[in-house]
Symmetry: C2
Amino acid sequence: ELAAHAASVFKTRRLDGIQLTITAGPTREAIDPVRYISNHSSGKMGYALASAAADAGAIVTLISGPTNLACPERVTRIDVTSAQDMLEAATSTLDHCQLFIGCAAVADYRPAIAADQKIKKDNDTMHIELVRNPDIVSTVANHAKRPITIGFAAETQDLLRYARGKLERKNLDLIIANDVSNTDIGFNSSENAVTAIWQEGQHTIPQMSKSQLAAQLINLIAEKFFAAKS
Amino acid sequence: ELAAHAASVFKTRRLDGIQLTITAGPTREAIDPVRYISNHSSGKMGYALASAAADAGAIVTLISGPTNLACPERVTRIDVTSAQDMLEAATSTLDHCQLFIGCAAVADYRPAIAADQKIKKDNDTMHIELVRNPDIVSTVANHAKRPITIGFAAETQDLLRYARGKLERKNLDLIIANDVSNTDIGFNSSENAVTAIWQEGQHTIPQMSKSQLAAQLINLIAEKFFAAKS
């Protein structure tokens, strides 16, 4: 019985001592001091993953965009605002990071110019020129000190096809595909359902609470992590 | 002593039975199902005003953009997302509204077209064409069933000049000017400092907690309200 107990403890400490970086929440890209562009994201999924990974024994650094969530226990949080800030924080962890989960809803584009002062609304129309933001998860996955790298794909159509395309294009080890057109799940919801996709297969996790889902995902991620390392 | 107590209770019930509508928080203007444009606003100032007004006996309808705040006690909340939603909710209260406080950080512009599906990032740059949003507080102040109308001005420069300009141009009874270039106050801070400006004068309230400030502002607003009515 003691052995069984030890095995179950061992099983729940699947990421014991593993250095994990996880990004969560949205980023905000300044138009001027009062206006910004952002993405819908409560941060709940990323925070749930950070919490589940810490439960599994990982040493977790959570790089978080603006959310209203409390930092999970035994997790070190770095607060950032823009995608560029987030990239800097992420690459700063790569010296020791063994596993990277990019769960943040990073803004793909930022205003080409962020105005120092509030732009006055003199006109009936306004044009904003946007430039591409760095792709954080892809930068990490193609870095010289590349950790095992997991991404997320939030899509509103052709979910699995787009997600598999991103897995290849971004050089990821695993991608978690999330259908955000379904308003029952994702974004501000406390539940989610996802399909985890890797080179040779995929696994669908049905709708459940984000904390339950996070625990299942961390198990799957631990499996892929040790398979890649062996 | 009883008379003094009654007077003090009376003093704190300055808006007894007055129908008050207050807008609070940011609005979000959809670019597509995952991306939006917004303004920095925690909603704290508007919620503090709603709470102070309810304490003063007002019958408060709080029209709120996305925030993470709990609805104050004895306040009826209507949740909205975009400026157009907020305008509709605001005008729907004008049949009975006697006092209107526009505290929301309404997005001045919205994307000319909100895409049904997530826009794919095929290009290095992207242009967003924006069109002007309705000016909610100005629409209310110029309505046939015009209540006493209070606005807010969040500025990063020439605060009092811009604010006084808005008081005139928008036909407001009072405007509360807020220097948002000072990071100690405003936005996500729990403290604020403002200058209330009306046709014949102005009054500065120094930095203090948003709830204390809200109580002082409600006293001032009640004074202006009954002066305008008499």
